[in-house]
Symmetry: C2
Subunit: 211 residues, 2 copies
DNA sequence: CCTACCGATCGGTAGG
DNA sequence: CCTACCGATCGGTAGG
């Protein structure tokens, strides 16, 4: 079917230079990329998609970014370093494995509820990074995995936890937190803190600790 | 740097019609697509990638498939229907929530260990389906989610399980199983059955059941 | 911040 | 199963 109205009211493309519109910032672009990457994935998102979301033409994005890949690596590396810092702070704040695991799980689950888009992009698109960004991301992820597993292994060795496999317990606990980003919605009945608290006690149950 | 050898030994493109090579089957294409989609995602995989993996030129794929989207929907719908059938069989095989949840978790975790590529594609690329395939996939997933959660809710109501939220318990248990596909490798020390057994008992711990 | 444009690649078709 | 080819779209550059 032909859209006749297109002839009468042709799409007017606004030129932001001459319109009285506030200029777009780098933060705006970052935000739009976050939403688009989380929704449709890195390869499912074109620069045109991002540009249109902030009201620009695609080439204008290059006033704010240096490349599409760079946008992805910013999101991924920012997020991973925050997550790891949260983990370290949680462990440092306590002196026994039970409280350390409870707190580490709490902040991890919480971050996935409060930063859904960022964590989804990390988990689905970090593998599409290349070169040094990819290495940095892999390093941070591996360190977090290693330290999380060590916390559990030590807790088992010292008799705080009961579990046949620190490896499986660690994967199970971390991944159930990661998945919060997939289903959590702010409009629901649950607040991020509620979810985080419940996940922390689920983590303790997984390693055999009951209150 | 110029690759001089390219001039001396130009890439010979084999024409499978005249070479003494067994013809490619639809199953070969399905296999190659599975590996490629799981590794790099649906939009990160081109038909040329899949064709080259089975030794064909890209247009020749159309002797085996009707479109790229159709290849994805086959993988996703096949996998989801198997997973749901496994769940129903597990529940039907037992008459109490504890055994039902143990068995349902066991088969779910097992499937993610033994069909890593299929389940990864479902979890990362099902959202890229369109039209009727997308609806079918969403329907099957929702039904599985609903029935899994109902199993847990009934178990709580009847006093078999202790947990403040069937919704959170259900998400946690299902998603920790889903993530098995991400880290499990056949060459490791653990067999799929070992992982599934451990995950089944983790699930029971999450809902407050200790042996 | 825009328009105009670049080479590369995409999924897919025609024809043999 | 191939070669030749299609229009569309991709990330990105030039120039103002």
């Amino acid at each position: 079917m032909k859209d006749v109205s297109a002839n009468l009211r042709p799409t007017r493309r606004i030129d932001r230079r001459s319109a009285g519109v506030a200029p777009v910032t780098g933060a705006d672009v970052y935000e739009a990329a976050l939403t688009a990457f989380a929704d449709r994935g890195y390869f499912g998102t074109s620069l045109k998609d991002i540009a249109n979301a902030v009201g620009l033409q695609a080439p204008s994005l290059y006033n704010h970014i240096s490349s599409k890949a760079d946008l992805l690596s910013e999101i991924v590396l920012d997020t991973l370093s925050t997550v790891f810092a949260d983990f370290e702070a949680a462990v440092a704040a306590h002196d026994n494995p039970v409280d350390q695991l409870r707190e580490a799980t709490y902040v991890y689950a919480l971050h996935h509820a409060t930063h859904r888009r960022e964590t989804m992009v990390v988990n689905q698109d970090a593998r599409h990074l290349e070169g040094k960004s990819l290495e940095q991301a892999q390093d941070m992820r591996r360190t977090h995995e290693r330290d999380f597993r060590r916390l559990i292994a030590d807790g088992i060795k010292d008799g705080y936890f009961q579990h046949p496999s620190p490896k499986l317990a660690s994967f199970a606990i971390r991944e159930m937190c990661v998945s919060v980003a997939r289903w959590f919605h702010d409009q629901g009945d649950l607040k991020p803190e509620d979810v985080a608290r419940t996940y922390a006690s689920q983590a303790l149950r997984v390693v055999g600790v009951t209150p």
